[in-house]
């Protein structure tokens, strides 16, 4: 089955080509069929590959030589090992469901074909990233998904906000990509090759502590760009301008997890660089807590989920930072399911309420959208880490490993878990419980999502629940599955402490839910006056710590001023001025000489005499 792995790439590519060139002619139905079947087939191949690679340490499948310039030799070939197979399966699976969901969601959009073209292109680029067997090919996928996220965020480009958000996303990603590119160059400078297998095999021998730290830090910069960690997370909340299925696919399940996958893929290097690992873990924990606080006060449902994604990614980086790569990947998988589910549910809410997403203006949707509510509740439970839901197992695994590594990180993780439970159930209660605050006609018009949207949500809901059991502490299929690749050191036998921690995190989750229930259902007035009492804190949070304004003032504006100075002042005046100055100088010299010829005979006589005197003088002195 592995031999046909390249089909995984071919199908989305065909989908892109067909929809791009014939999209408008073949009508919406055909377009959706082409797009969804492409991803479906690709998903089947991915499943086959998933089975095929169980237990193998990775099979390389070269397709063709991409670049050969002196010793710089880059093949376009696939690396099929449990890690990439798992990622490929998750990517194709979730995107297949979202493709189906999009049929319903984007039904009336005039540029239907272009939407599915971009979506297929995204999956194609993501698979290149995941299946790459060398850094450069991963970089190609890396920027490819960046491009697709730019196109899809700015899909409704008539809206200036969407266009700006798209640009912002691409440029911030580019900043991260620069770090990644420099990392690749450093690797090539050190190893002379970019092949993962080669690099990992020769790494211990070649890399000194400084070099490995430099490489891993640069790679991590790339990861923070793509996976929206501090300091390069600012683009993700704005990315909600794009259609909701896009947010679900790209900004929750797949693209943003690329950073985590990259760190997991380079686990050999990260293991050799304890300092970087510490940096990764601390940034992960910090981002998790930081984003969770912002989600508390956010009013836009999709932005709440966006901050939640940043926070959960922080968890994953915390996991890989402390060396628990398998736990990170496990949480990545479960997160893909329940976060995609939450986004799709938010999508169906928007679909029902004609685009209204501000939770203050919703409320009481339980009666109107029972299915969406149920599904959203399952997702919320999984996210909050309610026992028996998938989130609980994967998050707990991370907290357990964090505890083993350093209690401080564990404490931060626990606190964030509590905040997570609060903000997600705040969103749930405010949106679905209590009386409705929506306008009258919107309320009547609200209707449940069509089948084509609800079925994917149901499937995801099921996955969100059972997803956790594949990672039970002892059963740990995931860890076992990834064992050959990640050789994760085995956790100490599940002693009493692990059970205690399990109980503690369960309590924390339920406590959070209770607090949310109390605040937003029992005494809805409390949050209002709370925000008044802690007004400065509240505004700080609601203005997102003024980070955007900070970047604008420190980075964007100065560069624009320098640019304006160069374009309007320096270039035309100084550099160009110098050139024109030279021209005028020639003119001035011309006039100067002109005055010598003033027509007066006696001045000529004088110049003759001057000549004579000089010549005589020369002969005398020689």
């Amino acid at each position: 089955m592995l031999a046909y792995a390249w089909l995984m790439l071919l199908f989305p590519l065909l989908g892109v080509l067909i929809n791009a060139f014939f999209g408008r002619r073949i009508g919406k139905r055909a377009v959706s069929w082409v797009a969804c079947s492409a991803i479906g087939l690709s998903f089947l191949v991915a499943l086959g590959v998933l089975m095929g690679t169980a237990g193998s340490t990775g099979v390389e499948q070269p397709l063709f030589t991409w670049i050969s310039a002196g010793s710089f030799h880059v093949e376009f070939s696939l690396l099929l090992d449990p890690l990439s197979a798992l990622m490929a399966a998750v990517v194709t699976g979730v995107s297949f469901l979202i493709h189906i969901y999009s049929i319903g969601y984007m039904a009336e959009d005039p540029r239907y074909a272009r939407y599915f073209t971009y979506l297929n292109l995204f999956v194609f680029a993501m698979l290149i990233l995941v299946l790459a067997n060398n850094y450069l090919m991963m970089y190609v996928g890396w920027e490819g998904v960046g491009l697709c996220s730019y196109l899809l965020i700015g899909f409704w480009f008539e809206r200036k906000a969407a266009a700006d958000a798209g640009k912002k996303a691409f440029i911030v990603n580019r900043v991260g990509d620069m770090g990644f590119a420099l990392g690749i160059m450093l690797i090539f400078a050190m190893f002379g090759t970019l092949q993962f297998s080669e690099v990992f095999r020769r790494a211990p021998g070649i890399l000194g502590p400084a070099a490995v730290t430099a490489i891993t830090l640069l790679l991590f910069v790339g990861a923070t760009g793509k996976s929206a960690q501090i300091p390069l997370y600012i683009w993700l909340p704005d990315a909600m301008e794009g259609p909701t299925p896009v947010s679900a696919l790209i900004h929750a399940a797949t693209m943003v997890t690329a950073g985590v996958y990259m760190v997991a893929r380079n686990h050999v290097l990260f293991d050799m660089a304890p300092t970087t690992a510490a940096v990764v873990a601390s940034i992960g924990a910090a981002t998790a807590f930081f984003a969770a606080t912002m989600a508390l006060v956010e009013k836009d449902l999709k932005r709440i989920l966006a901050y939640s994604t940043i926070s959960q990614l922080g968890y994953m980086f915390l996991a890989v930072g402390v060396g628990a790569y398998a736990a990170g990947m496990f949480h990545l998988t479960t997160h893909a399911f329940f976060k995609a589910l939450l986004f799709l549910a938010a999508g169906s809410v928007m679909h029902a309420m004609a685009g209204e997403i501000n939770i203050q203006k919703l409320g009481g949707l339980r009666e109107k959208l029972p299915r969406t509510y149920a599904v959203f509740a399952v997702g919320a439970a999984a996210l909050a880490g309610v026992p028996l839901f998938s989130g609980f197992f994967s998050k707990d695994e991370i907290l357990w490993r964090a505890f083993l590594h350093s209690p401080v990180l564990w404490l931060v993780g626990l606190g964030t878990a509590f905040l997570t439970a609060v903000y997600i159930f705040r969103a749930l209660f405010v949106t679905f419980w209590g009386e409705t605050r929506a306008e009258k006609k919107l309320w009547e018009h609200a209707h449940e999502a069509p089948a084509v949207m609800s079925i994917p949500m149901l499937i995801l809901a099921v996955l969100a629940v059972i997803g956790g059991y594949i990672g039970l502490p002892r059963l740990s299929l995931v860890e076992g599955y990834l064992e050959p690749v990640l050789h994760a050191e085995h956790a100490a036998e599940a002693g009493a402490t692990e059970w205690v921690l399990l109980a503690v995190s369960a309590l924390i989750a339920l406590g959070g839910i209770a607090l949310a229930y109390y605040l937003y259902v029992v005494r809805p007035a409390v949050p209002a006056n709370l925000s008044k009492q802690f007004a400065p804190l509240y505004t700080l949070l609601s203005r997102k710590y003024y980070v955007d304004e900070f970047y604008m003032a420190v980075v964007v504006e100065p560069l624009r001023q320098v640019g304006r100075f160069i374009a309007e002042l320096f270039d035309p005046r100084v550099v160009d001025g110098a050139v024109n100055g030279l021209a005028r100088l020639a003119g001035v010299c011309g006039e100067g000489l002109g005055t010598l010829q003033n027509g007066r005979v006696r001045s000529y006589a004088l110049s003759i005499l001057v000549g004579v005197v000089i010549i005589l003088g020369y002969f005398l002195l020689r």
Binding site: R602, S603, A605, L606, L609, V610, V612, V613, L616, G617, L620
Partner: protein
């Protein structure tokens, strides 16, 4: 070529007169006085030529320069005359000052060169002063002029012809302009 005492005295006298004449030409207030100064200069030079055993040239100098050219100048002065008020001031600003300074430098250079002069540059010729005395200056001069230098002689005559024609043309031009 040792100079006899008499010669030196005469030489100094005529030298001084020549210089005085020249100075009066440039310093005279009125053009007529400078013309007379020029006359004095020419006469002094004529005398010196004769001293230097170039009698014919001395006489020629007297006739051509002292006679013809000075008279011509006087004619011109008559036509233009000194009707104009006295010169507005001899020195015209920086030009004159620079000019005279340069002239002094020039003179210094020449003097220095002459002082440094050693030995005769070219080979000596055969015409010694006593040969001139014996054969007569005009005969010798006439012979060399018409034998060795016949071409320059003819060219000189052509030049003079051109001079005459030119002068006549200028005169005619003047008559026409007066008629309009």
């Amino acid at each position: 070529m040792t100079a006899t005492p008499l010669e030196t005295v005469l030489f100094i006298a005529f030298g001084a007169v020549a210089i005085a004449g020249a100075l009066s030409v440039i310093l005279a207030r009125h053009a007529v006085y400078s013309a007379l100064g020029m006359l004095v200069n020419f006469v002094a030079l004529a005398a010196m030529y004769i001293m230097l055993s170039a009698e014919f040239l001395g006489i020629a100098q007297l006739i051509v320069y002292a006679g013809a050219i000075v008279v011509l100048f006087l004619f011109a002065l008559m036509l233009i005359g000194g009707r104009r008020p006295a010169e507005q001031g001899r020195l015209t600003g920086g030009l004159a000052a620079a000019g005279s300074a340069l002239v002094v430098v020039f003179l210094a250079e020449i003097a220095y060169l002459v002082m440094r002069l050693t030995g005769t540059a070219g080979a000596k010729g055969t015409v010694t002063p006593d040969v001139i005395a014996q054969l007569g200056h005009i005969q010798l001069l006439g012979a060399t002029l018409l034998l060795e230098y016949i071409l320059p002689f003819e060219l000189a005559s052509v030049l003079l012809l051109v001079g005459i024609v030119g002068a006549v043309m200028l005169a005619r031009a003047r008559r026409q302009s007066r008629q309009e």
